[in-house]
Symmetry: D4
Subunit: 214 residues, 8 copies
Amino acid sequence: DVATLDHHRALRQGVPEVVYGAGKSPAQAVAIVGRLAVRGEGFLVTRADDGMRAALLAAYPAAVENVLGRTVRLAPDEPVRSHCGRVCIVTAGTADLPVAEECAETLRSAGVVADRVTDVGVAGVHRLLARASQLAMADVVIVIAGMDGALPSAVGGIVRGAVIAVPTSVGYGASFAGLAPLLTMLNSCAAGITVVNIDNGFGAAMAALRILGS
Amino acid sequence: DVATLDHHRALRQGVPEVVYGAGKSPAQAVAIVGRLAVRGEGFLVTRADDGMRAALLAAYPAAVENVLGRTVRLAPDEPVRSHCGRVCIVTAGTADLPVAEECAETLRSAGVVADRVTDVGVAGVHRLLARASQLAMADVVIVIAGMDGALPSAVGGIVRGAVIAVPTSVGYGASFAGLAPLLTMLNSCAAGITVVNIDNGFGAAMAALRILGS
Amino acid sequence: DVATLDHHRALRQGVPEVVYGAGKSPAQAVAIVGRLAVRGEGFLVTRADDGMRAALLAAYPAAVENVLGRTVRLAPDEPVRSHCGRVCIVTAGTADLPVAEECAETLRSAGVVADRVTDVGVAGVHRLLARASQLAMADVVIVIAGMDGALPSAVGGIVRGAVIAVPTSVGYGASFAGLAPLLTMLNSCAAGITVVNIDNGFGAAMAALRILGS
Amino acid sequence: DVATLDHHRALRQGVPEVVYGAGKSPAQAVAIVGRLAVRGEGFLVTRADDGMRAALLAAYPAAVENVLGRTVRLAPDEPVRSHCGRVCIVTAGTADLPVAEECAETLRSAGVVADRVTDVGVAGVHRLLARASQLAMADVVIVIAGMDGALPSAVGGIVRGAVIAVPTSVGYGASFAGLAPLLTMLNSCAAGITVVNIDNGFGAAMAALRILGS
Amino acid sequence: DVATLDHHRALRQGVPEVVYGAGKSPAQAVAIVGRLAVRGEGFLVTRADDGMRAALLAAYPAAVENVLGRTVRLAPDEPVRSHCGRVCIVTAGTADLPVAEECAETLRSAGVVADRVTDVGVAGVHRLLARASQLAMADVVIVIAGMDGALPSAVGGIVRGAVIAVPTSVGYGASFAGLAPLLTMLNSCAAGITVVNIDNGFGAAMAALRILGS
Amino acid sequence: DVATLDHHRALRQGVPEVVYGAGKSPAQAVAIVGRLAVRGEGFLVTRADDGMRAALLAAYPAAVENVLGRTVRLAPDEPVRSHCGRVCIVTAGTADLPVAEECAETLRSAGVVADRVTDVGVAGVHRLLARASQLAMADVVIVIAGMDGALPSAVGGIVRGAVIAVPTSVGYGASFAGLAPLLTMLNSCAAGITVVNIDNGFGAAMAALRILGS
Amino acid sequence: DVATLDHHRALRQGVPEVVYGAGKSPAQAVAIVGRLAVRGEGFLVTRADDGMRAALLAAYPAAVENVLGRTVRLAPDEPVRSHCGRVCIVTAGTADLPVAEECAETLRSAGVVADRVTDVGVAGVHRLLARASQLAMADVVIVIAGMDGALPSAVGGIVRGAVIAVPTSVGYGASFAGLAPLLTMLNSCAAGITVVNIDNGFGAAMAALRILGS
Amino acid sequence: DVATLDHHRALRQGVPEVVYGAGKSPAQAVAIVGRLAVRGEGFLVTRADDGMRAALLAAYPAAVENVLGRTVRLAPDEPVRSHCGRVCIVTAGTADLPVAEECAETLRSAGVVADRVTDVGVAGVHRLLARASQLAMADVVIVIAGMDGALPSAVGGIVRGAVIAVPTSVGYGASFAGLAPLLTMLNSCAAGITVVNIDNGFGAAMAALRILGS
Ligand SMILES: Nc1ncnc2c1ncn2[C@@H]1O[C@H](COP(=O)(O)O)[C@@H](O)[C@H]1O
Ligand SMILES: Nc1ncnc2c1ncn2[C@@H]1O[C@H](COP(=O)(O)O)[C@@H](O)[C@H]1O
Ligand SMILES: Nc1ncnc2c1ncn2[C@@H]1O[C@H](COP(=O)(O)O)[C@@H](O)[C@H]1O
Ligand SMILES: Nc1ncnc2c1ncn2[C@@H]1O[C@H](COP(=O)(O)O)[C@@H](O)[C@H]1O
Ligand SMILES: [Mg+2]
Ligand SMILES: [Mg+2]
Ligand SMILES: [Mg+2]
Ligand SMILES: [Mg+2]
Ligand SMILES: [Mg+2]
Ligand SMILES: [Mg+2]
Ligand SMILES: [Mg+2]
Ligand SMILES: [Mg+2]
């Protein structure tokens, strides 16, 4: 028996159990979510490649696939308790969208539909300023950027709410697979920015849920 | 004129201007806070060495020094608008206390008095579990740890609220001045932990204020 | 002749010669183990991919394959001298199991059957505490974890026996292929933890055998 | 004789010989600049600590000291050939000023007086936008920033001219002595930004002179 | 709609919009360039693999493919405004040519035909010196080198004009995928050399266009 | 109250509480050990500089100072329970002796007197082989080396017992403050070597005590 | 024309031109060596994959393939001038043989037949000592090792002649693709060891030829 | 007794025992060299700070101090056996001279007087070419450079003899204390260059002596 699901944690923390698909076979993923589905809890599988997504959809036709985000999600039988508060997901460039989709799906699995602002990198800062009032309405802003990772600093200077920065592995050469934007974000000159792991759209969503729940 | 104070930001973001003392002379620090004090806003200076703290206290006898945290703080004339919510600062070991004090002073400058849990490193996990109910009452838990940086993972599994992890440069050898706990925290197996820069007690406090304000 | 087997070492050290399969062809592996098998010493091949395992099983139908651990093992004609003492292998998550299996097979090749504790990561520390008495019975505890690598610190605080920590390459982004848990373990706040190379289940087993032999 | 001055290069490249003071004694510095001064070429010494600057001023009362920039400069007997074009030096924060001063002094030694824009970090992007027309008038914009190093990306999106980015060692923890802003700048999402070494105000000025000379 | 093209930037900066092909599907690339082509602006796609290049050529038979540089370029209806000044691209070895071709195509898309000097690595410095007068005629010299990355230092000592250094990922072992030449170039002993990201032929060209435009 | 001593752990693990002196004032150290001394448990303080050692000796004239190892140790009132088994500490060079002394003092505080082999670096391997029989008698061999860190590989090939490798920060340049020997030891070609943090003589001793206790 | 062969260098340095096959197509390799072969100089191609080796052998049936070393070599029409002196190539393990073969082929292309010592890693140091007199006869000893890279230190303590150390990328985890043995060798406690790039059998051979020629 | 001098090695290898002063007290240094001096072997102490040099000169008035190289050397009673062959030490800049002096003193202690070429960095390559015939006369050329470390590549293309490259910690920022020139030299495009540790003038001299002795 390869996995001990921590149902307890879901109760303790009010967020769903999410299955991390990387390094599992499609059959293993189907087996694991079965234990969740049978209890009517629904499920979310992240980092699911094409084969795993196909196997999950075959077993659960009611599930929803997100190709870009590489997730499969099944709604629980009962709607989840609602979190109050608004989340906005901001991305710097097109290539950051898969991370944004993983993030959005994780929020959806907890009943939160995020607002979205796309393609507003710092190299054209007027694009960001044009969205300032939209950003101001969010309790939590999740900012996703690769390459220079400069966007969270600009966002942090505009909004009062919580800002969670997600570096991505988008880039090449001296981006060192996301190290460059990670360091940028940790050193942000905008005070009070927090950071999660490279490409960790899931983690940013979970952090937002912790805040909304508070 | 060496510094353009961003009063505008204080209004925009509801948090005080904080002066970063490192690399400034005592005279410069006194001059800069003068512009804040004269408006009745009070001030907070962080990373203030012995000489800078003495100069500030001489100029502002009503100010409060925190020796361990290396800060000097003057209360504003009017009490700051109150943030609602509770913050708890948790430290792994004795050597992490200076970072915790910088954090606590920053919170105080915004009118927030943090709860404290001290010396509960993972190597004696019963110490942490004994404080579980205290931790559960916080909206935001700030966890400060050096060396292995394992404490936020354990805290994150216990509490439902927001968790902000602060790696410290406490340690030697393969801690590489805080790199080891930084990486630990970014890879935390507890979902939804966010991270700030090494030794950045100030930043963790500002992130907590962003959350409480939301 | 590509390899000089060190039979001498086996005698000197009382542990079997183990063949490292990576970078060898199936034919080479079969040839090398032939020299061991013909002496009735049995063999263990680690890091054997699908093709190598098939070739070894075809040549030695009595050998035992471990698919997850990627090993093939043939028992020696005479049972190995028994080591006295108990070994427990603890894993943080499902994805760490291949390293645990390589470790368990290496111990088996020396006649030691390890106890197992699975899926007890620090994010749900109650799972670990529930197994405390089982852990206490071991002379050597081998703790295998990727991502934050925090588990050995928690285990080290609970048990009195020897603790060998194995970082794994499980994770992504700022885990830097196992660097993050490696640094965590080297900086463990639990005193007296020792560490082996990333993913080195074999090495941890050999270290345990050195201890049991003592 | 410890140094072979490359007068030839000055001719070849139309820029003055600059003496790098670090690691030299005051006496050595005085001796070296003597060979330049005697030819009426004037001199510039960078990275000159307090003692070296005092020695140079004692020997050359007509020389000009820059305390913040740690330089001493003596004008040549004949005014240098004038470069045509305008240079603007932009800094993110107060702590970046020493690098800006080294840069400005190097430009002055070649007869170029740079325009200046100070304290316009990305965390308050309105400060930068308010200076857009001033920036647009420059042929070369030198952008100096530490911590997150995000400023050149924002500047690069506003101006059409050449942009030279200078990372500084301002910051702590995960800035790794300037590595963080260096990587940020190399990965800038604004196209056509070029980068020089950490704290290298001298090099940025020399690059600007190469461009103006063209 | 995955991408917001920044036509505004093209106007602001006088350089064409360039599409970065990496991580896009052939269909996405065709769709994006369609929006540029329909306005008669022409297009340039970089980092386009075999499939993407085929799809673009099928859709735009008038476009020009550069196999080595992995680009597809369509000329605009109206010739672009001419930049005045000369650019020379210098490469150290055969393996650096793909980066040089990406660079040359980007320049061509702005109407600039670069001069070329090939295979003049520092290990045979007479090859470089033989081309000194050719190099001297350039306003901007772009120097592309992997392995030791020493070539820009030698070029910088010979020419008066602007020097932009491009490190490449050519090499193995301790080149660490271009880190070695990147560091070499940032530490160049020739004053006034600037540097762009590893393998960033596009960025070097854009920097040159910024200079020529000035 | 700055420190919560974990007396519980001493009971749980059979090893003494050891106070880490770095970053504490002499007065703090005296206060902390007072709580141990008053219970008759004795104490050991590591990383104690000159001032701290003087203060401890003044307060506890019966305590023993180790200048090279920078420790102060007071024996407990009752002799500690004896560990059975032999420990040998091997050092590569003179400069590794401080780490060896910290290790030996920690062992002494638990009643174990280690055997010693000094100055047997791999560059003169006959020196090591001449001590082979002495090494063979140890249950645990602690091998301490800086620079290339090659000694544990040679020792591991000679002895059957447990081998704990301690990299030291002895060296310069590409030793990167102990990173070089750390990596050497983690990659040892002798199977079953385990490793502790750079300069961690204390940790190696604690690991040995865990083994002896088993 | 993609490559300018440096025939001049061959004359200047007395060693043959060697073609680096990586990143070239089989057709390119055949074309380049044609220019050497037509002059009767013979050729050596390194880093030639299966397809390139097949193409070269088809074009030059008299050429000799080295499958393990991934080289193809054609003898020159006239025997090369003989170097006087003996070279010995020592390898630590089986997996280092490809690098040793590249090295041996490069030496052969200059008329030098190297002596060989195989599989003498430091973990069984008696294997090395048994070959001491053979090693002593060499003017240059090339020592090739991955993993801990400890072998050159042991060899350097035994022989008086020149020692060239070659780290290999053999290993996993904390070997970081050869960084571990590279650092070990640069920090060797045996004085006067020199080092070349990771896996650079070619470079070690060329260094030996420089020494023999002297 | 803190050090076991390896007189045996001196015999085995024909080079003198050299004492590494770093981390030793003046008194220790005097004691250690006493054991050498009493046998008439003379001595060389490297990395000796002001105090250690003064103590050695007081004890041995016939010894010779090298202030720049931080060494003290006493000639042996009998002149050392002469090595045949010429060594040339080449330095890139003034700041590299201390490493060159350490190197020259080590050679002198073995009876070899090195030729010198100073201040010939690659940024003015004509300076190097002007010395080509002088370089060509050396059997071994030791090339010492910091910053970009490009000089050995240029030298290696000019001379046929052995080339030993010594990176220095001269530089700042992205030189990372010598890492930049170290990587440059390991990746040299001139074939057959070998490398020693950062600032290791001693090691380069010992390597040259190994070659001359051959
Ligand atoms: N998985 C493993 N990881 C590290 N070392 C191993 C592993 N399996 C076997 N070895 C070691 O590799 C040696 C054999 O290497 P080889 O001669 O290349 O087959 C054995 O003696 C073991 O010490
Ligand atoms: N602050 C600086 N940073 C980097 N290089 C410098 C600096 N100041 C002067 N230089 C360079 O250092 C060279 C002089 O070095 P030196 O011969 O050691 O005085 C000059 O020709 C400049 O190219
Ligand atoms: N030299 C040392 N290196 C690492 N850890 C140590 C050292 N000395 C003592 N310790 C550990 O540090 C803990 C005490 O830390 P503290 O509470 O800060 O005094 C002890 O329980 C030991 O486990
Ligand atoms: N295996 C190798 N590793 C490093 N450099 C090599 C290797 N083989 C050949 N070379 C060098 O690469 C040069 C040829 O490079 P290229 O012009 O790209 O073929 C030769 O002159 C050699 O100096
Ligand atoms: Mg875009
Ligand atoms: Mg404590
Ligand atoms: Mg699990
Ligand atoms: Mg400011
Ligand atoms: Mg070539
Ligand atoms: Mg010694
Ligand atoms: Mg072997
Ligand atoms: Mg100079």
